[in-house]
Each structure stands twice: as structure tokens, then as C-alpha cells.
């Protein structure tokens, strides 16, 4: 299978890339790892006239530990996110999510920013960055702006990114005392999940504080389970509270029937995964419910 013919650009600096985007508007597509874009081009689901390959812009490939925040450049490969020590120590949900994405071959190419910019509700990283309270840095010729991850995902394959913007980096706050994890259930190894769940919360040992729950693959975009979070905040850490929250989150999901399962099955998976994610996270710090 071949993609439709296109003009190929491989700018070496971000300015040059932004000029090409400015000039070609909706006819241009940025290429990161190409692990979502190339399959779609081969199937002719999309046929951009201009491909702007950003892989030569080495200033976009970095992870910076700035103490209170970790900044991840868009071009960082998932395989590198997975192994980055400071992330493991400080915001482990990010590498824990990374290692569950696709398979090692895809993760060697696929980029951190591409997984977020794509706006695919089945991409796993959006839920993980969302619960950490990350901000997405987007740059156009008129400068950079930061968007809260919670406001970034608009609809299926639609994000707050404008045609003339590049997702430059993602800023992940390091919140002391927070715990949580990302888990997904797959039909087969290396696949997108039937559903995925990110949880991130703090606690005073007795009660939940500032709970955040996000769901993958069960709606038009990643879903922030706000009602479940509101319910859990200030609740005592008990099995019953977690169970109740998992049911609320399941009601907040909007799955549809497809090859990965029926709507009702996916709702059950969501509730199971929410429960499991809390139990796993609490077990690790020894405050089992």
C-alpha cells in the first residue's frame, strides 16, 4: 500500500517548520513518529498535500527535569519516556502509561507529542497527562501559548491545536505526595485498549484529597470523570468508596459498540479498571483500603 503522493519537507529548525505551516494551511500535516499518520495515509483515510517532517528539529527532542516540573519535548520517543529515571521517581504514571502503548517497535518511533496531538480517543497518553495537570505548549509564528491538558482535547481527532501551530512540549508538574497509575485492558498484546484508566490523587492517610480520574477509549475524546472525582474527594479511603466511585466513572463514560466490545461490556471494564487502579496505587504505599 502506498500513501497518495505529497510534497515532503524536512525543516531543520522550528522557524522554518512554522513558515511551511503558515504557507500551506490545512494542506500541511506535521509528521512526528508517523506511527498513526502513515497507517492512515496508506489506507488513504488522509492524503495531505504537504508533509512537514519535524524529525530533524533536534531541539524538540528532550526531557528536562526542572525540579518542580518535568518538560518533555514533542519528539521524545515513547521508548525514551518509558526509561527516563526522573519520571519514574517523580511522576511514574507517565512512564507506566508509556510502556503500555503499542509494542516496542512502535514505541521506538512514536513520539510523546504525537500521541497527544493526534486526538485519538484510543491513544493512552492523553489520560495520563490530563490527570497530572499538565500543560501543552503550542507554538506558532506569533509565539507560544500554554493550554491546560483538560482543555486540549476537543473531539475525535480534534484538539485545541491550530493549523499553524506545532505542539512543542508538555509541562508536567511534580506534585509531591500524589500517587496513582495508568492501567488498560487489551484484547491482544500491543493493541489499543478496550478501555484505559488513569488515576492520580493525594491523601492524608485517612481521606482522599484532590482525586483525578481520566478514561481512555470510551468516548469521543479522553474523558475526565469529574463526578467520580467530586464524589471521592474528602471520602474516607475504603473499599466501598472506591467501588462507588468506579460505578460513577462508568456512568460518565460514553463507550460505543465496536470490535473491542459492546457498550455494556466496556462500562464494566471501566469500573473494574478504576477499582484496580486505586487498589494498586494504595497498596504500594501501604495504605490498603
Amino acid at each position: 500500500m502506498y500513501p497518495k503522493d505529497f510534497e515532503y519537507h524536512s525543516p531543520e529548525g522550528i522557524e522554518e517548520a512554522l513558515n511551511i505551516l503558515e504557507k500551506n494551511g490545512s494542506e500541511a500535516k506535521i509528521m512526528g513518529g508517523g506511527q498513526s499518520l502513515i497507517p492512515m495515509m496508506k489506507l488513504r483515510i488522509v492524503a495531505p498535500k504537504h508533509i512537514v517532517d519535524i524529525n530533524k528539529i533536534s531541539s524538540l527532542d528532550f526531557i528536562k527535569d526542572e525540579g518542580k516540573r518535568i518538560v518533555i519535548g514533542t519528539l521524545t520517543r515513547m521508548a525514551d519516556v518509558e526509561k527516563y529515571e526522573a519520571l519514574r521517581k517523580k511522576v511514574r504514571i507517565i512512564p507506566e502509561c508509556a510502556e503500555q502503548i503499542a509494542d516496542p517497535l512502535v514505541r521506538n518511533m512514536g513520539t510523546f507529542g504525537g500521541n497527544i496531538a493526534h486526538g485519538d480517543p484510543n491513544n493512552d497518553m492523553p489520560a495520563a497527562v490530563l490527570v497530572t495537570g499538565a500543560r501543552i505548549v503550542c507554538r506558532s509564528k506569533s509565539g507560544a501559548r500554554e493550554i491546560e491538558a483538560r482543555n486540549f482535547f476537543v473531539d475525535t481527532f480534534t484538539t485545541a491545536l491550530k493549523e499553524n501551530e506545532i505542539l512543542e512540549s508538555v509541562v508536567i508538574p511534580v506534585s509531591r505526595g500524589y500517587k496513582g497509575t495508568y492501567i488498560k485492558m487489551e484484547r491482544i498484546a500491543g493493541d489499543y485498549g478496550i478501555a484505559g484508566v488513569a488515576v492520580w490523587f493525594s491523601s492524608d492517610g485517612e481521606r482522599f484529597r484532590d482525586c483525578r480520574i481520566a478514561l481512555t477509549g470510551v468516548g469521543p475524546t479522553v474523558i475526565y470523570a469529574e463526578k467520580a472525582c467530586n464524589y471521592l474527594n474528602d471520602q474516607r479511603i475504603t473499599r466501598e468508596a472506591i467501588k462507588r466511585a468506579s460505578e460513577v466513572a462508568s456512568q460518565e463514560s460514553k463507550p460505543s459498540d465496536d470490535l473491542r466490545g459492546s457498550e455494556s461490556f466496556k462500562r464494566k471494564v471501566v469500573s473494574l479498571l478504576v477499582r484496580r487502579a486505586f487498589e494498586v496505587s494504595l497498596k504500594e504505599v501501604g495504605s490498603e483500603p
Binding site: 500500500m1 502506498y2 500513501p3 497518495k4 503522493d5 505529497f6 510534497e7 515532503y8 524536512s10 509528521m31 508517523g34 506511527q35 502513515i38 497507517p39 495515509m41 496508506k42 489506507l43 508533509i51 517532517d53 524529525n55 521508548a79 503499542a102 509494542d103 516496542p104 517497535l105 512502535v106 521506538n108 518511533m109 498484546a189 500491543g190
Partner: protein
């Protein structure tokens, strides 16, 4: 519009003029006539097309040839330049194949694993090969082959 692309494949510099939409796997198979790299599913799922791109195993059906500009590619032919590679020997010895179609990809992924982790656990082997599908063996003999390869490589000290 065609563009010039040059890269190092199995240690040799190659240069061609190609359409930007040409996939790396087609560049390798059709332009360079290196047919050890296979096209299995052509939909990014099976890993039969795996090659090393600057030392990392990737799916060459999901990369444009132009993206490999200036990079180093190693295919299965490159691994066996000095005679059969220990991983290949191990796959023969332990019958890590039946039809053989997935084998080049399996070996490329195993190679990346064993270069960074000379003595992997079964769990680590399974994870490292999770992007490579085999429709014959049921994977058991493939895992055995990789374990055996790690032993051979540690004793032969060959990379």
C-alpha cells in the same frame, strides 16, 4: 516530485532518487533488492518488516524511505555478514520457526533486546517480542531460541 535520499545500509552507503511516499521496506526490497525484510500485514501490526534504524528496531512498512536520510539501517542480511549470527544459529537449533516468514523480524527485535540486556528473563523476552506476530509456532520455541541465543552470545561474546 522525486527527492534524493542517502543512508548507510548494512555498512554500505547507498543513494537513490525516490518518491517521498516510498516506504522504507519497499526501498530495501525493491531498490536495494534485499528481500530478507518481509512485508507481512502491511498495516503496521505484524513486525515482519522490522529493521534496525540507528540501532533501534522499527517497522519499515511504517516509515518513509526519506525519513531514513543520513541514518544507519541494518537488515537481517547485515546481521549475517560474517556468517550466521548466533541468534540465527539459536533459531535453527531450537526450531524457532516453521514457515519462517516472521523470522527476520523476530531476530531483529531479539537483537535489539540482547544488545542492551544480554541475559533477559522470559518475561523480558516476551515483552520485547510483543510487536512481532508468528502464526505457526505458538511462540514457545521462539522464546527458547532467544534464551539460547543469549547464552551463545555471552559465551561467543559476539555482538
Amino acid at each position: 516530485m522525486k527527492v534524493k535520499v542517502s543512508m548507510v545500509v548494512n555498512g554500505e552507503k547507498v543513494e537513490r532518487v525516490v518518491q517521498p511516499r516510498m516506504l522504507l521496506v519497499d526501498f530495501i526490497r525493491r531498490e536495494l533488492r534485499l528481500t530478507g525484510t518481509h512485508v507481512g500485514c502491511d498495516t503496521s501490526s505484524c513486525g515482519a518488516c522490522a529493521v534496525l534504524l540507528n540501532g533501534r528496531a522499527v517497522k519499515s512498512c511504517t516509515i518513509l524511505a526519506v525519513q531514513a536520510e543520513g541514518k544507519e539501517i541494518v537488515t537481517i542480511e547485515g546481521l549475517s555478514k560474517g556468517g550466521m549470527h548466533p541468534i540465527q544459529k539459536a533459531f535453527v537449533e531450537k526450531q524457532g520457526l516453521q514457515c519462517g516468514y516472521c523470522t527476520p523480524g523476530m531476530i531483529i527485535s531479539s537483537y535489539q533486546l540482547l544488545s542492551s540486556n544480554p541475559n533477559p528473563s522470559e518475561e523480558e523476552i516476551r515483552k520485547a517480542l510483543s510487536g512481532n506476530l508468528c502464526r505457526c509456532t505458538g511462540y514457545k520455541t521462539i522464546i527458547d531460541s532467544v534464551k539460547y541465543a543469549s547464552k551463545l552470545m555471552r559465551t561467543e561474546k559476539r555482538k
